[in-house]
């Protein structure tokens, strides 16, 4: 085995190393699902308990921006998937290009999210003493916005962490660290990125769309 082999000393083969990395990522995602699961449970219970307050509150969210962000994020999943494929084929430049595209799309998502948050701030929709809500049941509407900020905030935090990891990954890819035998990091980060994407695919309908039609 050559000096700068990418096979770690405690593995017997590239196949074993690859299988371990991928199983490890799936186990990590399982714990992430349980982590978000607590919030989804809270959302479900409170939505069922205060349907009116939640429906009117979700009307305050901007469907247009939410839809735009959904499309942006799905696009970033596509570029991420392409980056994984490039790495598997040993195409260094393609990998770097698609990773950068993924980071760009992720950043667009976060900027739009920032504008949405600012908008909520201007309309006094931050739960607390300054909360103002014109719809019925303003007390329980606060609960909706607590959940809105907790869920999207935690999701955004995962995006920010993801962007940091992607930046590191891009630098590694540019140095040509990934080979068709070992590009486990690219695959692992890819899985993570798709997972964060899927969380949003659930958040968007639950927070923006669900129950809205009752109001018109």
């Amino acid at each position: 085995m050559s000096e700068n082999s990418t096979l770690a000393h405690h593995f017997d083969s590239y196949a074993q190393q690859k299988e371990s990395a991928s199983l490890g990522m799936w186990v990590f995602i399982s714990q992430e699902i349980m982590f978000f699961g607590g919030l989804f449970l809270a959302y479900t219970i409170y939505r069922w308990r205060f349907p009116e307050a939640f429906a009117y509150s979700s009307n305050e969210l901007d469907i247009g921006l939410g839809l735009f962000n959904t499309i942006v994020l799905i696009g970033s999943s596509l570029t991420m998937a392409l980056a994984v494929r490039n790495a598997a084929l040993g195409e260094k430049n393609g990998t770097v290009r698609n990773l950068i595209l993924t980071m760009l799309l992720g950043s667009v998502f976060l900027v739009v999210k920032g504008f949405e948050y600012a908008h909520k701030w201007q309309h006094h929709l931050i739960p607390g003493p300054n909360f103002q809500f014109s719809g019925p049941d303003p007390v329980h509407a606060q609960l909706f916005f607590v959940l809105y900020f907790s869920m999207t905030g935690l999701h955004a935090l995962h995006m920010i962490v993801g962007l940091g990891i992607l930046a590191w990954l891009t630098a590694q890819a540019a140095k040509g660290r990934f080979t068709p035998e070992n590009h486990n990091y690219v695959e692992g980060v890819g899985l993570y990125w798709h997972f964060v994407d899927i969380i949003w695919i659930f958040l968007f309908p639950l927070l923006y769309l669900f129950g809205r039609h009752h109001l018109t």
């Binding site: 405690h10 186990v27 399982s30 982590f35 607590g38 307050a53 607390g128 329980h140 609960l143 607590v146």
Partner: protein, 546 residues
């Protein structure tokens, strides 16, 4: 198999301890064995701190009036006792120390699948521990280890946020350990080591890891939400905006009931190894014991409501939780019966590890059976939040988890250090711990049954005799915990080397030198047999039936 004849065991020339000893060789090590030692240092510190809190509790309760400390201080002392012992000692104790050290060796691997993540988990653990310790230094918190809202989110004083974040962080070290174990057990087994050739220690850790992966993140998000609520004065458990503090209890116990099995399942794995080694027999009903671990892990996720019988959950929910709680007794009893059957007609060697294993069986059985009593809806309403509950979970956690940990530490100490400890003192201290433990906690069953509530610093005069018995027992127990520290540390200076296999046990870990070389195996092992194949005196079949 590498069985050279060993006349006078000598220390191997090169092993994992003989390498470089500068700080970075330890603090940046990726060797699972050295990381296990780092964890041993960490949990010992937190055990001592938690034990100090226990001393203060038992001193206060020696007299009926609250004379040693005001109620407010007492609240902080028992809270810190619980937080330190549960999150920083019991949960990491066996997996992170013995599991870390032994699991790769037992499956014939050079290391865990992710050595860097293993080291990271130790740092995460120590950072969480340091934050909690800081919280203790600046006065401690009075929420109880359960962090119930709205007390914790709005009313408790002290550095609740710091300690909550400390516990939150430590949770991720537990998650990472579980992740590493699951991947290692799936992907790193030696050729020929099929699932049903795995030692039961490994099965126990596999079941534990499942709980760590699926349970811990739930309590993590819950504690995060409590922290946010405390920080922003508004949150999802806040009744002022329609939030439900009972939801907190559901989420908290969804983890914290299975957390008991994070403590007990590895301990059961240790006991299985010890019983087989010191009765020189195959574990009776190996597959049943293995699947019982998985059964306990799965059922453990479905019983959390038994902590909430009095919190206003529906009677039907209570009845269902009560029923499933009793089901957990089935796999637990399978283990106890199978260990007993393993001992039956075995060639028993009364060494210290076996004493601990037998102690475990006795105390865990009492802890488990009183658990069934508490799981019974009607009885629980009577003794809810009394010392009966306190006695029950200490029988499981101290009598179960700690005796298992000590038994394992004594069993594998010669492997870990290459040295033999003082046999006389180790047996004496095992006896002292057993007596001290029962004297401490058995009276608490009676106290609870008579109605003494937990978490108060004063109590009516009529409870004093039993409380004095309990405090006296705690002193004895304390001595029992100090003696092993002395003779185990003294053994390090011992010139008597243990040799590769002082117990004559089977298992991959006993076929390599003590202490093991850094890479564990010189040549990768190939497994051709079931575990625990001890040569029988008459090669007839093992006894069937009684």
């Amino acid at each position: 198999m590498t069985s050279q004849h060993e006349s006078a065991p000598a220390l191997p020339e090169k092993h994992y301890l003989s390498g470089a000893w500068s700080p970075q060789d330890w603090l940046l090590t990726k060797d699972h064995k050295r990381i296990g030692i780092l964890y041993l240092v960490g949990i010992s510190i937190f055990f001592a701190l938690g034990g100090l809190m226990a001393v203060l509790i038992r001193m206060e309760l020696a007299t009926p009036s609250g004379d040693l400390m005001p109620a407010d201080v007492y609240n902080r002392v028992f809270t810190m006792h619980g937080v330190l012992m549960v999150f920083f000692f019991l949960i990491p104790s066996i997996p992170a120390v013995l599991g870390n050290f032994l699991l790769p060796i037992m499956i014939g691997a050079k290391d865990l699948a992710f050595p860097k993540i293993n080291l990271l988990s130790w740092y995460i653990y120590m950072i969480g521990g340091a934050m909690t310790f800081y919280g203790l230094l600046v006065g401690g918190i009075d929420t109880g280890w359960t962090f119930y809202t709205p007390l914790s989110s709005g009313y408790a004083t002290g550095p609740v946020l710091t300690v909550a974040v400390g516990v939150f962080i430590a949770g991720f070290s537990s998650i990472l350990t579980g992740l590493n174990f699951i991947v290692t057990i799936h992907r790193m087994r030696a050729p020929g080591l099929t699932w049903f050739r795995l030692p039961l220690f490994v099965w126990g850790h596999y079941a534990t890891s499942i709980i760590q992966i699926l349970g811990t993140p739930v309590v993590a998000i819950t504690i995060l939400l409590v922290g946010a609520e405390r920080l922003f004065h508004i949150g999802v458990f806040d009744p002022k905006i329609g939030g439900d503090p009972i939801l907190f209890q559901h989420l908290f116990w969804f983890y914290s009931h299975p957390a008991v099995y994070i403590m007990i399942l590895p301990s059961m794995g240790v006991v299985s190894e010890i019983i087989a080694a010191f009765s020189r027999k195959k574990v009776f009903g190996y597959k049943f014991v293995a699947f019982a671990s998985i059964g306990i892990a799965v059922l453990g996720f479905l019983v959390w409501g038994h902590h909430m019988f009095t919190s206003g959950q529906s009677l039907y929910a209570g009845a269902v939780f009560s029923f499933i709680t009793m089901l957990v007794a089935v796999p637990s009893a399978i283990k106890v019966f199978n260990w007993t059957a393993t001992l039956y007609k075995g060639a028993i060697a009364w060494d210290t590890p076996l004493l601990y294993a037998l102690g475990f069986i006795g105390l865990f059985t009492i802890g488990g059976l009183t658990g069934v009593m508490l799981g019974t809806l009607g009885f629980d309403l009577h003794v809810h939040d009394t010392y009966f509950v306190v006695a029950h979970f200490h029988y499981v956690m101290v009598g179960g988890a700690i005796l298992g940990f000590l038994g394992g530490l004594h069993y594998w100490w010669p492997k870990i250090t290459g040295k033999l400890y003082n046999e006389f003192w180790s047996k004496i201290s095992a006896g002292i711990i057993f007596i001290g433990f029962n004297l401490t906690f058995f009276p608490q069953f009676i106290l609870g049954y008579l109605g003494m509530p937990r978490r108060y610093h004063s109590y009516p005069e009529e409870f004093q005799v039993l409380n004095i018995l309990s405090s006296a027992g705690a002193s004895i127990l304390g001595i029992g915990f100090v003696i092993p520290v002395i003779y185990l540390l003294a053994s390090l200076a011992n010139k008597r080397y243990a040799g590769n296999n002082p117990w004559g046990a089977v298992g991959l870990e006993w076929q390599i030198p003590s202490p093991p070389p850094t890479e564990n195996f010189e040549t990768p092992p190939v497994v051709t047999d079931e575990p625990y194949t001890y040569p029988q005196p008459d090669e007839k079949e093992a006894p069937v039936g009684v």
